[in-house]
């Protein structure tokens, strides 16, 4: 089975761990996980590494998740790579904003490992 390379962008190290654990619980054992604590760090990671999927928080200091998403789309840093936003913000307006900025999926915190599995596997299968 080929390795799946994932970038997790969140200012919380605990949330990054939880997301990674949820992905492993989803059966993605052949994971290579890159981590970034802000949108700015996420861009740096994408300049060096190629990934298959990006999971990003929205509410972060320095550069938030929506700006990160706009920047990677504008700079063509991860062409065709699906992005899933993981956030506490849950209104239709926030989802719409994320989709307009180029996200393919949205997971609301708190979440279960099952919800992460469902979103991630459907995007990886479609890619």
């Amino acid at each position: 089975m080929r390795e799946i390379r994932i970038l997790i962008v969140d200012d919380s190290t605990v949330m990054r761990k939880i997301v990674e654990r949820s992905l492993r619980q989803a059966g993605l054992d052949t994971l290579v996980v890159h981590e970034a604590g802000s949108g700015t760090e996420g861009i740096e990671v994408l300049r060096v590494h190629t990934v298959d999927l990006i999971l990003s928080d929205i509410n972060m200091p320095s550069m938030d998740g929506l700006e990160f998403l706009r920047q990677i789309r504008a700079q063509d840093l991860a062409p065709g790579v699906p992005v899933v936003m993981i956030t506490t913000e849950s209104s239709e307006e926030h989802v719409k904003q994320a989709i307009l900025s180029g996200a393919q999926g949205y997971i609301r915190k708190p979440f279960t490992a099952e919800q992460v599995k469902e979103r991630v596997l459907s995007l990886l299968t479609a890619a």
């Binding site: 919380s12 605990v14 654990r21 200091p61 956030t87 849950s90 209104s91 926030h94 915190k109 979440f111």
Partner: protein, 186 residues
Amino acid sequence: MLLNGVRTAPHKRGEGTGKNEMECVMKVSMRESLELVSDPLNLDSSVEEVFKMMLGMDCQRETTLPVTGDESVTAVVGFGGVLSGACVFRSDASTAMRIAAQMTGMEFDSIDDTVKDAIGEIGNMLAGAWKGKVPNLAANCGLSIPAVITGRDYNLHVQAPEFELHHVYRFEDAWFEVTIICDGMQ
């Protein structure tokens, strides 16, 4: 009807009266939905949701918080927009370490950065889940980055809040409190 600038269905009373639709448009402020916003059940279900989904723990509402004299850990997440105020999570050090251990699968014997990070995230998710219960708040109220305070013998005081919800909860033999303070509404 306009809900803080977000147009939804027209106001029923004006339908079929021949009046210009604009005359029937009514602004509904957060203050007018105070009863819904300050419903204590919203806080209970937010706590239940966060602890069940992220920690696999069932929480029970309690009436009083046992006084331990231990160091405490507090996460504060501010609200801004149509409602201003804060969501405050507070527990003693041992409860904070148990929560962090459950979230990360690690063991802790002191309040280090990972424990503070975990408690900040709990505060963030509680604030997000609570505001998500009221559609107008979900759409028009933002959250700050969590601030975490540790120490002993401190109190958070807000001068004349619009309303305050203060609930105590327990899981197993660990206790914590969650406070929603609203000091302004549009």
